[in-house]
């Protein structure tokens, strides 16, 4: 992966220092503005805030921890380079997830070229560690939040197509608006509505299947 246009990046970047910050609750906008001026601390703060979401999205989409690791690196390297092009500085996460979506597509193409399929296990072995939910068995929450149900949810998600899994996660997990999902996926708003609706319907059928 080549990275052009990073000429201003400092050659010496000191190791992060453990400092007590009083701006942890500040919106992304403040850090984005500083990171655009190559403020290393601001970039690290943005990284810390969003690395979990980006890594999780890539992990779910690519279904491979190694690919998710490499993809996350690539997302933040590109983000550093392209930060000046970010229009809405308060919506950094959708923008990062858009880059992640492109990176995942490139990863698919790369694996396809190598005629080696990306690991797409039926079940995620590292699915929920432990969810201690003591809920009423009759509620949908119980069905979907129990530990066993979490494993089933992982299986069902794994059986969705890549695109449907992606839109469902962008909406359900990351809370992106329909318009933002349309931008991330490169689709029309109408297609996003249809695909999310279909993905939900398919997921419910798959959940019933894996529960049997």
């Amino acid at each position: 992966m080549t990275h052009r246009g990073v000429a201003l990046f400092p050659l010496t970047w000191p190791a992060p220092k453990a400092v007590v910050r009083d701006d942890e609750g500040a919106p992304d906008r403040a850090f984005v503005a500083r990171a655009r001026t190559r403020d290393e601390g601001a970039f690290r703060e943005l990284f810390d805030r969003h690395v979990g979401a980006v890594y999780g999205f890539l992990h779910d989409v690519l279904r491979d921890p190694v690919a998710a690791d490499e993809g996350t690196q690539e997302v933040f390297v590109r983000a550093y380079d392209r930060l000046p092009s970010l229009r809405d500085q308060d919506r950094l996460l959708p923008w990062l997830l858009g880059i992640a979506r492109n990176v995942s597509l490139e990863a698919y193409r790369h694996h396809r070229r190598q005629e080696r399929s990306v690991a797409l296990p039926d079940a995620q072995d590292d699915e929920p560690n432990a969810l201690h939910c003591e809920l009423d068995a009759s509620t949908p929450e119980h069905v979907l939040l129990s530990r066993e149900a979490q494993a089933q949810l992982g299986k069902a998600l794994g059986r969705l197509s890549d695109d449907r899994r992606a839109v469902l996660l962008l909406r359900g997990e990351h809370g992106l608006a329909y318009e933002e999902i349309a931008r991330v996926m490169g689709w029309s708003l109408a297609k996003v509505k249809v695909e999310i609706h279909r993905a939900r319907g398919q997921l419910r059928v798959l959940l019933e299947e894996v529960a049997r």
Partner: protein, 172 residues
């Protein structure tokens, strides 16, 4: 009231609707079991996906270090000239050298024997080279002419011409 579209119910669950629209959906839910069930399921799905995300293994701890390393490497690559341009100074130096030699004023050309003379060092080869020089160089001054003639005369005296081609280059 007509049942809201699936997207509207979804936006209701996510809290994205305006206060007015939200109130309208809320009122509808109190009268429609189907939509109420759908909202409950949507809410459960969202909770399940978020809970699943929270229970997921965290990203590797060295990710930031790797990103910084990549950026530093990219920075070095940009500051360093590419391989194509790194040849440019070499080519320009070679061209300058060619131009320099092409424009040099013409110098008298030394013959091979002089070059040979300059490269030898033993007394024997120096003596031989002097003899060779005496045969190959054309005399320039009167003194050199008389010296050459004296040399030929001495040579003829030692080995007179015998009718055949003269080995002393006397023209006989």
């Amino acid at each position: 009231m007509k049942c809201p579209a699936p997207m509207e119910l979804d936006q209701f669950v996510q809290g994205e609707l305006s206060a007015k629209s939200s109130m309208s959906v809320h009122l509808h839910l109190s009268t429609c079991a189907t939509c109420s069930a759908e909202v409950a399921t949507l809410s459960a799905e969202r909770r399940a996906l978020v809970a699943r995300a929270r229970s997921r293994q965290p990203p590797p701890p060295n990710l930031l270090w790797k990103v910084e390393l990549t950026l530093r490497q990219a920075s070095r690559d940009v500051s360093r000239p590419s391989s194509r341009w790194s040849l440019a100074p070499l080519v320009m130096t070679a061209m300058a050298a060619l131009l320099f030699f092409a424009l040099l004023p013409a110098r008298p050309v030394q013959d091979d024997s002089q070059l040979l003379t300059a490269s030898v060092s033993s007394p024997l080869t120096i003596h031989e080279s002097r003899e060779t020089e005496s045969f190959t160089r054309m005399p320039n001054s009167d003194r050199e002419i008389s010296a050459t003639e004296a040399s030929f005369a001495a040579c003829l005296k030692a080995t007179p011409c015998s009718g055949g081609p003269c080995i002393n280059l006397c023209g006989n």
